[in-house]
């Protein structure tokens, strides 16, 4: 247990502990309010809709909140020093080398994807996808109040993305990853000499198609197989459309918006799928080409 305490009290990890607590409390609180609104048939927000003067009502809240934050900040800064390690030394790589905590989700993705996906394509898609949300969510309900039943799909999708794929991967990267980026329980001492024999295989090899031939050149059959799997995965977009194209929702979404929603959704779910394949079945790549691997 000592090791948990060591991890938690590391000055730079305190905000992450705070983040986890905040996220849990706020998620509980938001769903509490949403389910209450859904259940009672009227909106709590609408009950508080009478207009009041900003001075003093809002200014007072802002002042008190500022005071509260400043007091916490000053106490925090008096009690805990920001870390300052030894001088920078480009020849001495610490193990593990961790990115700043808010990028640890992306660093964790490196286990499952090559850097061009985990470090470039995925972050870009996260940013673009977030920006696209208001334009692809055509549900007019649930604007300006807490609700769950009126927008189940969007809330579940966002919560999976934010709570599981972002916050919990930060938690994983901070508290569960040790030297060599191996998994350690938080209460386990970090063994810097740990070596794990990795017997990762590519997906095609599970089906008896070798990625490389005896002379180490790429096996065309494996490339065809890998491409088919990936195209097959994304062809779910078309399959679902064929099945549901006459539903009101798909018609209202329109062709372009539907494709964007479906592409972003499948790309997001590709991460947990690859995590399961990698951790559960030791699958390394789906597709290996001379230029890139997926």
């Amino acid at each position: 247990m000592n090791h948990v305490w060591e991890l938690v009290r590391k000055p730079d990890n305190i905000p992450i502990v705070a983040l986890l607590v905040f996220v849990i409390v706020y998620t509980w609180w938001a769903f509490h309010k949403a389910l209450k609104n859904d259940r009672q048939g009227y909106l709590d927000e609408a009950r508080l809709s009478e207009k009041i003067q900003v001075w003093p009502n809002l200014v007072r809240v802002e002042f008190l909140a500022s005071l509260f934050v400043m007091v916490i900040l000053v106490f925090w800064s008096f009690l805990i020093d920001a870390p300052l390690e030894e001088a920078a030394n480009p020849t001495l790589t610490p193990n593990p080398s961790k990115a700043p905590w808010y990028f640890l989700g992306l660093q964790e993705m490196l286990v499952y994807f090559d850097p061009w996906i985990a470090g470039v394509v995925m972050p870009s898609l996260i940013i673009v996808g977030l920006m696209a949300i208001p334009y692809i969510d055509i549900n007019e309900k649930g604007n300006g109040y807490y609700t769950f039943k009126e927008r189940k799909f969007s809330i579940i999708t966002f919560c999976v993305g934010f709570l599981i794929l972002w916050v919990s991967l930060i938690n994983l990267g901070t508290f569960w990853r040790g030297p060599g980026w191996y998994l350690f329980f938080p209460w386990e001492e970090w063994d810097t000499h740990r070596v794990v024999a990795l017997t990762n295989v590519d997906l095609s090899e599970v089906f008896g198609i070798h990625t490389r031939r005896a002379d180490y050149s790429l096996n065309p059959a494996a490339i065809v197989f890998g491409s088919a799997v990936i195209l097959g995965y994304y062809s779910l977009i078309g399959a679902y459309w064929l099945k549901k194209r006459n539903s009101d929702l798909i018609k209202k979404l329109g062709f372009l918006r539907y494709n964007i929603v479906a592409f972003l959704f499948l790309t997001m779910t590709a991460l947990p799928i690859k995590m399961i394949l990698r951790i559960g079945f030791n699958i390394k790549y789906i597709l290996v080409t001379p230029w890139f691997n997926i």
């Binding site: 905000p15 003093p56 909140a65 008096f78 300052l84 061009w116 470090g119 230029w291 890139f292």
Partner: protein, 258 residues
Amino acid sequence: MLKIREKLQQTEVWKSIFRHNYQDTNRNRALQIVDNVFLHLHPVRIPRHATNIGYTWGMGGITFLLFIVLTVTGVILMFYYRPAAEYAYEDMKYLMNDVAFGPLIRNMHRWSAHAMVITVMLHMFRVFLTGSYKAPRQFNWVVGVLLLVLTLLLSFTGYLLPWDQLAIWAVTVGTNMARATPFLGHQGPFGPQLGMRIDNDVRFVLLGGTQVGPPTLLRFYVGHCIFLPLIASIFMAVHFWRIRKDGGISGPVSNDRE
């Protein structure tokens, strides 16, 4: 005493500074907001749920407060810090050991920075859960996403400045990703085919070298202290302006317009 105060309030100087008295009337309450350059960001009247922390979580406002704290402490830190590899770490040691209140200022800067990343995320979470990005606030959500990215970049560039082991290796891990940029990185898909080498790809541009070194420190310093805060301030101005222009704080449609 009362007489002196009354006299004082009659003087030209006093009247030129304070445009109205402090009687508790609705008119004065409105003037208090409208006549004040800092407070006039607010509307004069708002729906009651806008003051309810259970609804707003207050995270947007706290983020702005932290940005101000970071600006003030950051400027103070700039007096003690030189962004050159041979001085940077020594300046940090000096700051932490010899400067009066140096550790307090630096701690406040670092903890506010961490806190700001958290509050920005929570602000986004709240705005999503209340559906506040929906019409007519779609564009302000986009601006908000840009501000989130800017916050992360500000934090990331600041991470390098202490120039200790933690700093350069965290930034090394982070910027190594740029090598793998498709087309633009020397290890990315189709990068080598387009002539990308370690000394001319997008990571080289970012770092000013083939590894995190003194030019990187200067680049990140200028980005951290001038370029990014400036851009963030501009987007913040747009963000706040658009809250007003898009009908104030979100709420159930019935009281959206008034």
